[in-house]
Amino acid sequence: MIRFFIALWAAKLADKLFSLKYGRECDTAGLVANKLCPDFMARVAKPPLVITVTGTNGKSTTSTLIANMFRSRGRRVSFNDWGANIHAGYSVNLLRGVDLLNRCRADVSVLEADELTACDTMPMIRPQYMLVTNICKDSLRRNGHPEYIFGQLEKAFERLGDTTVALLNANDPISSELAADTGTRRVYFGMEDTHTEPFENMVNDAGVCPRCGGKLLYHYRHYRHLGDFYCSDCDFKTPGADYLAKNVDLAARTMTVTEGPEETAYPLMSDTVFHAFNTLSAVTLFRELGFSQREIADFLATQSVPSIRESVVEYDGIQYYTYAAKAQNISAASTVFEYMAKEPSDKDVVFILDEMQDSNHPSETISWLYETDYEFLNAPHIKKIIVAGHMCYNHRLRLLLAGVPAERIVCVEEESDVPNVVDTEGIEKVYVLFEIDFVSKARKVRDAIVDRAREVKGK
């Protein structure tokens, strides 16, 4: 106990100092806490309600929605909203919710949680709710493969047992199988056919039935391996959804969610099916917590996609976007490429997908390029694809193999050269696709493109 309080006080002091120097998005104090007291996360007082959001894609958006909901109700929320989703981030998040005597001052803790390490951390934190968005392929260097991530999350549920409610995606053949034998109450959210006619992906994260190895078939798919699935050889199929989204109208940004005999219309914050899933999963949690449908609908009407994912400026009739794409995460990258193809504007697409977050591994494996659907980018309204940075030659080869005509591909090693090759007329939009951790870099490139367009116009 003494060690815990020493850790708490030292970490609180460190948090004050580091926050002054680096801002609040610094988790060094959490490192201090965990170093001095390895079970700090278990000992620190928790708010009455702790909610964890984990899974491969959609964690940030979903956990932000959840935290915003509680804030909108005047509740005190601790939330690791700066992407610090492993040990140190949790500890900072939780220590900010207690005073020097370890008395909890927060009402709710929302934790965006890394799926790889959840089996070590969640048993200490013991959330009442653990929402799993989905399990997809991600960085092979860190996450291995989906089957491995499934195993890690399954260990977390085994260790949590019946103290945690699992909120699971019924349309994901991988994560829907979680917590089957752990005594955990499982609540499923799912979606009826959205008629979005998803493209066929070259790689399927769930190519075979996890129970018998048979071929997985679909009545319909939403995107990638998410959909209404069934096995060709056994009785494995989409579980029944407790919260089922129907009449999903992405263009009008609305959906209806059915719970038993009740149906409620909710607004969506985007025209993409993956954000519809994020909203649906948050609605599921809110309903489980007892929020009324009206409260939820009114709240959702005030929400928008976090600007960290997407931003836009307009100049001379052209819209210039930054758009998060996540290199190495093939499901996220392919989904963005599909969006680029389906979004009908004439456009240039700029790749700032050079994996520079791996500065110690600047030549990361090229494997993700050959699992990602570059073929989607072979669309006539994508006028030019500019590949920049040290991965440019790898991107160019992949685009050529995907059938993109050579004359539509521009390869520049230096990102500073990008503005010189982006079109300034004959297009409606420019999309700068970027690594999620490099928002400011993407905006800098985008702004340089706009500056260059101004120069051209001025001449």
Binding site: L116, T117, K137, L140, R141, R142, G144, H145, E147, Y148, Q152, V203, G207, V208, G213, G214, K215, H361, P362, S363, E364, T365, I366, S367, W368, L369, Y370, E371, H390, Y393, N394, R396, L397, L400, L401
Partner: protein, 239 residues
């Protein structure tokens, strides 16, 4: 036509491995690419195939694959002795070794090579590295191979006769050896994962020649440019 059999792509394509075979087939129209599902009998059992490819798989499926191939161990041994081209990448090379150990568990493998893989599956145990390695063709020509490793296991044994290549930068079959992969006649196994033939166009040309085919690659200039750039970059960051 030359028959190239890609074994169990629905199980063994976790890092884009199958694109190696797609690429190979695009390089030469004389290649008849067969994709063999794990619920069917492989073509190599009854036909004289020209090349077999086995890619990387999740660990539990790797064990399933060993059992799928076990009845055909003698046939595989005969094909290797005959000089059929076989390529195994990532943990697929462990399938051809003696055994895989994970804690107290011992999983007997096909035993074609006398190597033992040791698997540890905690997150901190995942090994990531890159290699630059020297490979010598049957004619004695040196090819430089580039590899990316991301794995939960290493292999141990005496690789003095059976190494695929010698690592010049990076690690080999385990952190204590420069011997990388397995080789016997035209069986080539490497721990490198992903689409190895895109990563290594000179080696791809060699495989095409081994099968008696013209060795021109699809988008050869662009493939070589990307390879050269990666090679330079790996050399620079390894210094």
């Amino acid at each position: 036509m030359k028959i190239v059999e890609n074994l169990f792509p629905e199980l063994c394509n976790i890092y884009g491995e199958s694109y190696s075979m797609t690429y190979l087939a695009r390089c030469n129209p004389e290649i008849d690419l067969r994709l063999t599902n794990h619920k069917t009998v492989p073509a190599f059992v009854t036909e004289d195939v020209d090349m077999i490819y086995l890619g990387c798989s999740p660990e539990r499926k790797q064990e399933q694959i060993i059992e799928l191939l076990r009845p055909y161990t003698d046939r595989l041994r005969a094909l290797i002795d005959r000089g059929t081209v076989i390529l195994a990448t990532g943990n697929a090379l462990e399938v051809f070794g003696r055994e895989i150990r994970e804690g107290d568990r011992v999983i007997p493998a096909l035993g074609i090579f006398d190597s033992c893989a040791v698997r540890r599956m905690e997150p901190g145990d995942r090994h990531n590295s890159r290699y630059i390695a020297a490979f010598f063709t049957d004619e004695g020509e040196k090819l430089t191979l580039l590899g990316h490793k991301s794995q939960f296991s290493f292999s141990y044994g005496d690789f003095s006769r059976d190494a695929f290549a010698t690592v010049e930068r990076g690690v080999g079959m385990n952190p204590d050896t420069k011997a990388e992969g397995l080789r016997r006649n035209h069986f080539f196994g490497t721990y490198s994962l992903g689409p190895y033939l895109i990563l290594n166009p000179p080696f791809t040309k060699y495989l095409l020649r081994l099968m008696g085919l013209d060795d021109t690659l699809a988008f050869e200039a662009e493939a070589m440019k990307a390879y050269q750039y990666r090679w330079n970059e790996l050399t620079r960051v390894s210094n």
